[in-house]
């Protein structure tokens, strides 16, 4: 058994010199998921737009009456538009099938283009012989997305630091309630904002205390907190606010502020720059959280704690303290989102008025892959789906309104389940850090 053996350097051309010092090998796995999904949607599109196609003209209004620059309405013949859209959908589906066959990946922009075409086709179909006010549709989408975006920012911060925040819903609701009450009593909407942040922080304190100090399962604490906040605000609403609506539940609302010049840009201006103070705060918040997370010491430490708490501990970062204060900060941001319900849009607190927005925000966090910008875009998508339902029921679309009510949730499910694929969250999110 004593075979003489010598060693040749790697990569030599001798017999059996197969192993080289290259990096890991990759082999593309064929996944037919995307082409199949696109095919199904193409068939659905074909059924709706061609088989059950409608005749008439679809009008899209691009300007509001107060705009400086007036854009003409876009008028599309409904049935030909539908046929053209379906043709494009089939083309993209075929292209994606060809890509997978030749072992390439289907790029995300192709899927996005597909979705946009499908949307245009659907809008044209639903608005046959009606007019869709595009600025109004988008303005409403942003309004509905505001609390989602604040909630999602809170969710991103909380999860990035390692605490799963299911309590966003509770934080929104607590923020909505306290801001309505405080703003009504003081007649100062700004004080209402501060109160909303404090209420969100208070909910966070409970979450943080149980999750970080006592290692209770974070999801369970979050769910219980949602139920608790819902119960407490509901009780106080019927006992306190409803009988004294004039003094306790009629907060002054923020006025819309038109930003000079910017608000006159066609389509975009009226949507983004004729908003209330809370919305402008939101723009700043998104930018700050993004910059903070990825370019500052605060963000570096926060992400370190959420990814590998022990490593953070060994370089002298106090894991529990970092988690506690950042979860509190997340609560404050989510609380702002709650204030938007009462001070920005509705103008009074109503029982359970957040109606699951916190959970949609949570979905936006996951769909946005724990990135503040992407999560904001996801929240905008969900806001759009909600408002599309509003607009279509107003202009009288042939789709039953009960079905349209499902739309935002359907979009959420498809977005989170289908498109995300295998996105990776912070490694230590949801795991308590227990030191021995």
């Amino acid at each position: 058994m004593s075979t003489p053996i010598t060693v040749s350097p790697a990569g030599s051309t001798g017999p059996g010199a197969a192993v080289t010092a290259a990096g890991p090998d990759f082999e593309q796995i064929k996944s037919w998921k995307t082409p199949i999904a696109l095919a199904i949607f193409s068939v659905l599109g074909f059924l709706l737009l061609v088989v059950f196609g409608r005749d008439g003209e679809s009008t899209m209004r691009l300007s509001t009456t107060t705009d400086l620059i007036q854009l003409p309405d876009v008028v599309l013949p409904t049935r030909p538009t539908g046929i053209a859209v379906v043709a494009l959908l089939l083309l993209i589906t075929a292209a994606s099938g060809w890509l997978v066959r030749s072992k390439a990946k289907v790029p995300i922009w192709l899927v996005t283009v597909f979705a946009v075409f499908l949307l245009v086709g659907f809008l044209a179909w639903a608005s046959a012989d009606h007019t869709i006010p595009v600025p109004g549709l988008l303005f409403g989408s942003l309004s509905l997305a505001v609390p989602l975006i604040f909630g999602a920012l809170g969710g991103v911060i909380s999860e990035r630091v390692g605490v799963v925040n299911v309590a966003i819903e509770g934080q929104l609701l607590a923020g909505a309630f306290t801001s309505a009450m405080v703003a009504s009593i003081t007649q100062q909407p700004l004080l209402g904002l501060v109160a909303a942040m404090l209420a969100g922080v208070l909910v966070s304190f409970v979450l943080a205390a149980f999750a970080i100090k006592y290692f209770v399962d974070q999801v369970i604490v979050g769910v219980v907190l949602n139920v608790l906040v819902s119960g407490v605000t509901g009780f106080l609403f019927s006992q306190l606010l409803a009988p004294n609506a004039g003094t306790l539940n009629s907060p002054p609302r923020f006025e819309n502020i038109n930003i000079p010049l910017l608000s006159e840009i066609p389509i975009i201006g009226p949507v983004f720059f004729r908003q209330t103070l809370i919305v402008y705060i939101m723009y700043v918040a998104v930018a700050c959280v993004y910059f903070g997370l990825f370019h500052t010491k605060w963000g570096l430490r926060l992400r370190a704690v959420g990814e590998h708490p022990q490593a953070a501990d060994t370089v002298g970062i106090n894991v529990a303290r970092t988690r506690f204060w950042n979860v509190s900060l997340a609560g404050a941001i989510a609380g702002l989102g709650g204030a938007y319900f009462t001070l920005g849009s509705v103008g009074a607190f109503g029982k359970e008025m957040t109606a699951g927005a916190g959970f949609i925000a949570l979905a936006a966090v996951i769909f946005g892959r724990w990135d503040p910008i992407r999560a904001t875009l996801a929240a905008l998508l969900f806001g759009f789906a909600s408002n599309l339902q509003n607009v279509l029921s107003i202009i009288g679309s042939p789709v039953p309104s009960e079905f349209m009510l499902m739309l935002p949730y359907l979009v959420t499910i498809f977005a989170v389940a289908g498109l995300v694929g295998q996105s990776r969250g912070p490694a230590a999110s949801g795991k308590p850090y227990i030191k021995s």
Binding site: M1, I5, V7, T20, I29, H308, A312, T314, V315, G316
Partner: protein, 506 residues
Amino acid sequence: MKLELRGITKRFGALVANDHINLTVEAGEIHALLGENGAGKSTLMNVLYGLYRAEEGEILLDDVVQHFSGPGDAMAAGIGMVHQHFMLIPVFTVAENVMLGHEETGFGGHLDLPAARRRVTEISARFGFDVDPDALVEDLPVGVQQRVEIIKALSRDAKVLVFDEPTAVLTPQETDELMGIMRQLRDSGTSIVFITHKLREVRAVADRITVIRLGAVVGQASPTASNEELATMMVGRPVDLTVDKSPAAPGAPALVVTDLTVLDPRGQVLVNNVSFTVHAGEILAIAGVQGNGQTELTEALMGLQPRVSGGITLDGASLRNHTVRRILDAGVGFVPEDRTEDGLVGEFTIAENLMLDRSHQPPFVKRFNVQLSFLARFAEDKVKEFDVRSQGIDTLVARLSGGNQQKVVLARELSRDLRLFIAAQPTRGLDVGSIEFVHEGIIATRDAGTPVIVISTELDEVAALADRILVMFRGRVVGIVPGDTPRAVLGLMMAGETPTEEGAAA
């Protein structure tokens, strides 16, 4: 800097992990802390690093008593640590990892990444490391990750550097390089504490050796001491370091693996066109540094990997794409590499764990009922046969020591009628006595005519057990060589260099 530990005592409940330990490390020396797994070495260093608070004793640096309330204090005092499990954030770059905890910032807390990059480059250059400051840590090989850990410690001007089992993840060549780095650091005045249980390394690099057993210092030794002397001190009784093994009597080919390829969900090739044959009555050892596809290979054999192509036949019948159940029923016994994670259910009793993979059929289960009296008799027999030290068959497995846990796994697997036995890292983390027992069990299985595959990252173990050795590197087979191949050759093969065989084939 001179480091002194005086009377350090650390308890976990009733267990005394460190019992009045005294240790002095002079400036500019490499001081080895030698002891078996579980002797209390890592606990002691975690006390030094401020991760644990000791019940008694004090830490002195240059004769000044220190009070550490956390790792931050220890680092500020000049103590650095290269952890056994790297304390690096996988999704951060090298520069971000190095700066974490002592970031240089500009306006508004804006990270000064260029400064961190310069720092990494400067320290890399000083020690001849080739580390890209902008590489993501998760993309780096473990050897380079370890250098990042060293850079991290040095960037904080560590004067005392603790290496906790640093060679466990390295190839023999990387180990030699690490020892060179340690000598270089020592010569520049850094005090080094080198924690290990590997005698060879201690003798190669240490200036002084302190041996720890069961949480207490048992004595000092000089690097000139023989392996046997050191082992005797470490274990507390004379140890036979060799395994008695008669030459193998290989029979017919039993397991035939052809062109086996395993992909991960992203399409990365983890096992790349692997082919080999195991004969009845021989031990094929699969050697290689951790993470070169050995784990995935065994999982593919057991039916635990979803994306497998190629052929696996046992005694002529195909095993590929069968369920784990059918593979077990075909007579494959399996000792997984992580016994607490994959081998046992900690909150089950010894008896319950012994029937885990036979819970679907008689004699253990009849008409949906667990046959408790049969199970009890069976468990009593096996506990005696495999010398599982416990308070009875109803002891929870989580309460057992690592060695006794592994004996339970062995008892379960070897008490079936086996036609193939696969043992992955069978002695990882075990004490010397249990290692001897496990090795004897594996050899007895071979001598009974069963084909055996042993996967190990420890060259000592490979050398002790193997009749033939298959070396893996980056998912491929570098070569299959005889069991008595010299360590130096195996070491080069583990780094991916292909052996050229002259004369008879292996």
